[in-house]
């Protein structure tokens, strides 16, 4: 039984990881508490649903959803965040809450509050190994999360744009003086964040075979926050490890204690964790000397 919970926890944790990587990149660059992250990618996932329902091949539909997440998040940054970028912390956060509601209402307007089946056709098969069941989809999700973490890390470390992103996340004026085109670079980060969110969201839908409006905030933004706090806010490695731990904790609590009170218990564990280690497992290594 324990192994089964472990496998389930790992795979749902991997889904959270993809969502959290996107969230942490966006948080890392502007330290904006992005309330809208989940609702933006939820809309992207509904685009996938719309395309699949229209008879388009799931792979192309997913690409369409990922591209729409990319574009949508760039537009959100451009119109809702850019002009309030230097207005303290509260104003951009409120702007983000506004965007979250607009996205959610757009979904409700077009698709309503119903839960839809999400038929993407890659449910895969079940592998029976000893007493436990592993879905091939679970394996794909795990591989996807690790691959994206590696790709994004390499992108940040090895490319010029990636280094520009890291510079902006430390100081916007310094990056600007070195020649980094600040607005364009921030747009790219939001785009990538939105695209990764849709990938995570789609895997979530694939895992549960369903899609509904709640996948954005309650299952996306909030989980990304929790995972980021466990792992270390703004850190990619922290995002993945925090998310996988969150998945494991949820799976163990649901398996051994109570499914009904799972959320309350998980939050209780999180709050206890914050009290003991508020900086998470992988905080940024050094504060900037100014």
């Amino acid at each position: 039984m324990f192994l089964q919970h472990l496998i389930n926890g790992l795979s749902i944790g991997s889904v959270y990881a993809l969502i959290t990587i996107g969230y942490n990149m966006v948080y890392g660059i502007l330290e904006l508490l992005n309330f809208a992250h989940g609702d933006v990618y939820a809309l992207g996932c509904f685009v996938v649903l719309g395309l699949v329902t229209a008879g388009i091949h799931p792979i192309i539909a997913i690409l369409g959803g990922v591209v729409s997440g990319y574009i949508l998040n760039i537009l959100v940054e451009r119109f809702a965040y850019r002009s309030v970028r230097f207005s303290g912390r509260v104003t951009p956060t409120i702007s983000a809450v506004g965007v979250a509601y607009i996205m959610r209402n757009a979904i409700l307007k077009i698709w309503g509050p119903e839960t839809y089946p999400m038929k993407l056709g890659f449910r895969g098969t079940q592998l029976h190994l000893g007493g436990i069941v592993v879905g091939t989809l679970q394996i794909y999700i795990f591989i996807a999360a690790i691959s994206f973490m590696v790709i994004i890390s390499l992108f940040l470390k090895k490319t010029k744009i990636g280094q520009g992103i890291i510079a902006i996340s430390q100081s916007i004026p310094t990056a600007a003086l070195l020649g980094v085109p600040v607005n364009r670079t921030i747009s790219i980060v939001y785009g990538i964040g939105g695209a990764l969110g849709v990938i995570g969201g789609i895997l979530f839908c694939a895992y549960y075979d369903t899609i509904f409006v709640g996948i954005g905030f309650a299952l996306g933004t909030l989980k990304a926050w929790m995972a980021a706090i466990i792992g270390g806010v703004g850190s990619l490695k922290g995002a993945v490890i925090g998310a996988i731990m969150l998945g494991l904790i949820e799976s163990m609590v649901a398996g051994y204690v109570s499914t009904l009170y799972k959320d309350a218990l998980v939050w209780l564990i999180l709050i206890t964790f914050i009290l003991i280690r508020p900086q998470g497992f992988f905080p940024s290594q050094i504060a900037e000397k100014i």
Partner: protein
């Protein structure tokens, strides 16, 4: 080479620079001295595009810089080494140097980094260290080398001696003199007026947002009133 005319820059309703005019001659080392709050940093920030002026003109080799973004201005050949060094603490020394060449697209960036590492062996030895862990003097050297990595025609230096020990101050001023000897046009902002005037060709004295004196560095050094106010008698 760079001409600033009738520049007015304000923070809200308060003018930080009043009707300022300054010109930089090609290859010259010009210094701007003055007390804290005189507007020296504001001027540099306005040249490099971090601040927008209320009125006036800034012209670089016939092109107006007004309205350009910082990344466009450094691409034209004006590098700004900011006050307080501002090294990118979470990136290594090597990565900081590479960031200095962000606007370049040639394939000689690696060679240039090795050139500076040869000149400054302390940096070489710390190539893969995070620059947040460097000492103040090392950070200042890194900040200057990083600014030079863009191969600027004009280098704006803001308080390079700030927070350094007297020995290090001497060393940094020697570096500035070397850069000047290599033909880079420099605008040096300093509170350490004596040191600045000793290596400069020309100087401006700034007091609460206005130029109150402008002359060759040698003449300013010998002026009685400048000596009394800025050179410690």
């Amino acid at each position: 080479m760079l001409a600033i005319d009738n520049l007015v820059v304000s923070y809200g309703k308060i003018d930080a620079l009043h009707d300022m005019s300054i010109s930089l001659e090609p290859g010259a080392l010009t210094t701007l001295i003055g007390a804290n709050g005189a507007g020296k940093t504001t001027l540099l920030k306005t040249i490099s595009g971090l601040m927008k002026p209320k009125s006036g003109t800034i012209t670089y080799e016939g092109t107006s810089l007004i309205g350009l973004e910082p990344h466009e201005i450094i691409a034209l050949g004006i590098a700004h080494c900011p006050e307080g060094r501002r090294v990118l603490a979470r990136q290594t020394v090597y990565e900081n140097m590479k960031m200095g060449a962000y606007v370049r697209n040639d394939d000689e960036v690696g060679e240039d980094i090795e050139y500076f590492f040869k000149k400054f062996p302390q940096l070489e030895g710390r190539r893969h260290h995070l620059s947040g862990f460097l000492s103040g003097g090392e950070q200042q050297m890194l900040a200057i080398c990083r600014a030079l990595m863009s191969r600027p025609k004009i280098l704006l230096l803001d308080e390079p001696s700030m927070g350094l020990s007297p020995v290090l101050v001497k060393e940094v001023f020697k570096i500035i003199k070397d850069i000047h000897d290599e033909g880079v046009t420099i605008l040096l902002v300093e509170q350490n007026a004596k040191m600045a005037l000793s290596i400069a060709d020309k100087g401006y004295v700034l007091e609460v947002g206005r130029i109150i004196a402008e002359d060759t560095a040698a003449n300013l050094m010998n002026s009685k009133s400048i000596q009394d106010s800025y050179l410690g008698g």
